[in-house]
Symmetry: C2
Subunit: 380 residues, 2 copies
């Protein structure tokens, strides 16, 4: 089988998310936005798909490298692109590798009629999810106060059935942010609202000092939180060694630090985290995410998967060390997360009433694509 | 798809290998021997196979666990068997896990019509091989003297086309063994015979002292050998740290030390080897061998694969860090390695005249099984 074409398709949809001046998403008025789709086509008619592709880089850098290749040579293709990153710093990013790798896994699964987690060698079919909030805001009744978080946590846990809840608290440009004191007030309000038996986690502002991070960790220990992510810039790995040594709270990372499985090997060796974090979008696809999982398993370290999406769901269902949770969101009281994205016929991370997200048993990544919608809304 | 039966078949064949009192193989008079085949059967008629199964353990321990399971849940099944090893120390060995895992990969490949290395995500289709000798002996014209090794190396390199050569030297019960001096004489004779440009390796007696091992390493440095394996008992990891720190020769390991990918993680962290060694038979199958590969890739460490066979060949063809060589053998001047095993219709590690072993593109592990021979020679 040979790759004969690599195309990107851009189409319009209506988004209800807006970005603040620092880039974080919040609920907003419906407005037109663009989504893209990567398609890898073969001479046998089988295709693979991935939403959210960087169209310019794929057309200029990736397409010429993929044409004529066997799509089942995922390891070779991934390593070839990884080596090319040295030449194309800043354009051939890990996110680009992610979309190519996901489309290749999707293609392989569609070619042989099996879901990706079974190609990898499956471990399970469903994973418990946690509700992962948007960052704090100043919207009345939104995520503006500790009480807002508490009310939303109660809805997520007791109404919707999530077994666990993670706060993303306030970051600039919101007034008073960042604040360790206010973060801990929100975390305390949530703990009080849901009781002692629910797993709670925090992902705060990412540029706290060492002392602020330790203060936050000590506060979360008292509130019996399960873990904290990225309170400091991850490029200073030594800061995380310092924090992990002093805190009893589980520190989870790295998430945004570049370096794929190589960086995670260093974090493990240095003792910079108690639980390792990876995700298909962070490290360049399912192929390297599984390498991170296997690295961590070799050191008997748990892995928490960053972000949702079908790629991460298949990784979670193929993991021998189960990551504890699937991250569902980012959620907000004003947004109906169960709404199906316009480009799909059904959600690709359906959650049952007990809080389990089920992986699709359809071939490939298992997304049910709404081709009519895409074709009716093309951006020429 | 469900597993409906797990069977083992034992059949007779004529072997030309005999074991010495320490268990090492040497050429001998043709005699009847037994081989076994593990078959995993599904409700959809697809089957998976692996030769060399422990029939008693599979019947008593493994079969009841596999019946009714989905064979595509390789990760779950492997972890389930691994956990059971704690209860069945000494019977549910890594070799048993290996045969089950290989049969499951074979089954998956046959079910979807793809070779295993493409299911894993292929990197290449062929791997250079090295000629790997049997242990030294006292057979005139065999591997009895340094000159015998030199003559055999010349044949392997210049006649048969192997690009590299590995000696297994003399071990007890042979007179005068073990001997660092004689090992180095054999290694020197081979170096002189093949010239300066051929990769040479040594796997000596495994119970040398630290000082003897260092003496051997220093001798091999002068002879420009590529690597040495296991000169000491691998249960003393500190001995290998000591050796690797002082020697410029690449030290490759561990091979026989128990502990799968977990043990290899410790060797990497401790700096006990320059190149890590793994093989499907050592760690419990393709599934954990790939975990070792991914662990090593995370630390930018090379991996050399222990032993031949189709499982290792598929791993080598799926590795993003190529292990340098496929180990072909164990070879001896008196044995025709190209002879097809009676239970196959053709060899499963064919080597071309340039020394490349080619992986099969047939579904599964790609072995062409001689069913007539097996059925005609069944052991009731």
């Amino acid at each position: 089988m040979k790759i004969v074409d690599v195309t990107t398709t851009t189409f319009r949809y209506i988004s209800n998310t807006v970005r603040d001046s620092e880039g974080h998403g919040h609920p907003g008025d419906p407005h037109e936005a663009k989504q893209s789709l990567l398609t890898i086509k073969t001479d046998e008619g089988v295709e693979g798909y991935c939403f959210g592709a960087n169209t310019a880089v794929i057309e200029s850098l990736v397409k010429p490298l993929l044409i004529g290749q066997d799509p089942f040579y995922r390891e070779y293709l991934w390593q070839m692109l990884r080596e090319r990153q040295r030449l194309h710093l800043g354009s051939l990013s890990d996110r680009v590798l992610t979309s190519v790798d996901l489309a290749l896994w999707d293609l392989a699964g569609r070619a042989v009629g099996q879901p990706v987690h079974k190609l990898l060698g499956a471990f399970r079919d469903k994973v418990p999810a946690y509700a992962s909030t948007m960052c704090g805001d100043d919207l009345p009744g939104g995520l503006a106060t500790p009480e807002d978080y508490a009310n939303f946590a109660k809805w997520c846990i007791f109404e919707r059935g999530y077994p666990a809840f993670k706060l993303h608290t306030w970051q600039p440009p919101y007034e008073g942010a960042p604040s360790v004191k206010r973060d801990l007030e929100a975390c305390a309000a949530v703990r009080e609202a849901v009781g002692p038996d629910v797993d709670l986690m925090l992902d705060p502002f990412h540029y706290y000092s060492r002392e602020e991070s330790l203060q936050l960790a000590r506060g979360l220990e008292k509130l019996d939180y399960l873990w904290m992510e990225e309170p400091m810039a991850e490029h200073s790995m030594s800061s995380f060694v310092w924090l992990a040594e002093q805190s009893d709270l589980l520190i989870v990372g790295p998430e945004t630090a570049e370096g794929k499985h190589y960086a995670r090997a260093e974090w493990i060796k240095a003792g910079a985290a108690d639980v390792i974090r990876t995700g298909v979008g962070d490290v360049g696809g399912i192929t390297p995410a599984m390498k991170c999982v296997h690295l961590c398993e070799s050191f008997n370290m748990s892995v928490e998967i960053h972000g949702g999406g079908v790629g991460n769901l298949h990784v979670l269902c193929a993991m021998g060390i189960p990551g504890r949770y699937y991250e569902r969101g980012l959620l907000h009281p004003f947004i109906d997360w169960e709404e199906v994205p316009a480009w799909l016929n059904k959600r690709d991370d359906p959650m049952d009433s007990e809080g389990f997200v089920h992986v699709s048993q359809d071939p490939g990544l298992g997304q049910d694509i709404n081709w009519d919608y895409i074709n009716d809304n093309l951006v020429k």
